[in-house]
């Protein structure tokens, strides 16, 4: 089983600690969110028979509205 505590950006793996050390706060937050989402999707794929839906486990965003319902 793949280590859930690492984010793979195709060929290298980053730990949450690596991401915490990213200098730009804006970028750090996005990477953290990406990391957590990938971990969740990974868990989901391994534990759910409905894994084919996991990639849609996000809300579609409409840029002409200031919010995305459900976020």
């Amino acid at each position: 089983m793949k280590d859930e505590k690492k984010l793979t950006l195709l060929s290298r793996e980053l730990t949450l600690e690596d991401i915490e050390n990213v200098k730009s706060p804006a970028l750090r937050e996005i990477l953290k969110e990406h990391f957590l989402q990938q971990s969740d999707e990974l868990k989901h794929k391994e534990h759910s028979k409905y894994s084919e839906y996991s990639k849609y486990d996000k809300y579609s965003r409409f840029p002409y509205c200031g919010i995305t319902p459900g976020d």
Binding site: Y56, P69, G70
Partner: protein, 385 residues
Amino acid sequence: MGRQSFTIIIQTTSSCNLNCSYCYCQENRDNSNNVTFETFRTCLSKIDDFLDTHYEICILFHGGEPLLLGVQFYEHVFKFLKEDLRHSYHTGIQTNLTLLNEQFIQLFQENNCRIGTSLDGHESYHNFHRKFGNGKGSYENVIEKIKVLQEKGIRYGIVSVINDYSVQSPTEFYSFLKEHPNTPFRLNPMFVVKNGRIYAVNPETFGEFLIRVYDLWIADEQPPKIETFEEIIKKLLDKNGSTVCTFLPDCTQAFVTLDWNGDVYPCCHFVGKSEFCYGNLLESTFSQIASTNIRSRISQRAVEAEKLCRGCDFHEICFAGCMANTLIDINLKDYFCNSYKIIFKYINNSLEELLIKRVTTTPNAAQTDKSQMLMHFVCADTVEP
């Protein structure tokens, strides 16, 4: 179990108490009508019956100005959704806020309806286009209502249309963003076609504007929340990483717009254009609407984009962009194609410089296409090379 979201944009009315010069609803305003609760209920029930249970429905009340329908309309709507909808759902409303009152606030809070509004920058930038019918700018009224939301601890998001004036002043615009911490912002370029004439910011100028704002944002110790950049970065990290409709290969799979009379369109930008109308949901089932030839034709845009954008490094990031931003033929590229190329390239290079280096030692690198190569990142600051 994972859920797939399906967004229904309710074109509640094309009427508005403002008269913003760039509004795409203006052409429909002369024949304006409001959606009735009966029409809303009938149409929503048909969609609810049709969709598989794994879908989650997002309902966005849009316009025109949706608060013009009054509190009672929304009381009926929320009661119906709560009591009769089979699917789980979320709601949101995009309003200019000027008509917001205590009753609306209480109702939206009780029903967890998220609020989005529009603010185009500091007063002079906002009032440049966003005026009442008498010509008075709306900035003061919007800010007053935003303060009410803030005092009550209600979360809201802001759409900022970058107009021909603000696009010249990225630093000034960034200082405006900083005044709204924790508020999600979307930065949209002004684009409207009226009587065959385009009113839009220059794509290259908009691209340069985004670069300047991005530079300020990425270096900021307390950055505002700019979803436009977040979505681009997520896309560069993972081509499935953002689901903003602009960059989906086929937005018709996840969105429809319902007009006041039950007509269904791919998006609110096409309302009133008969060649894009899927049909009328009062007269048809949603199954018939979903399988209409018009929808199939629009879905083919992804195939056309493949040909149109062959050779572009970012084809799999944006899929030729938004069809509402094409001029006449939806199989053309987005008017802001050059803006996207400018900002995608800049952010990609910036990520490499800031924390990421492209992996060049992949054995099959020579056979990997350019768009895939964009995803090959490692952290240079924190990971041993």
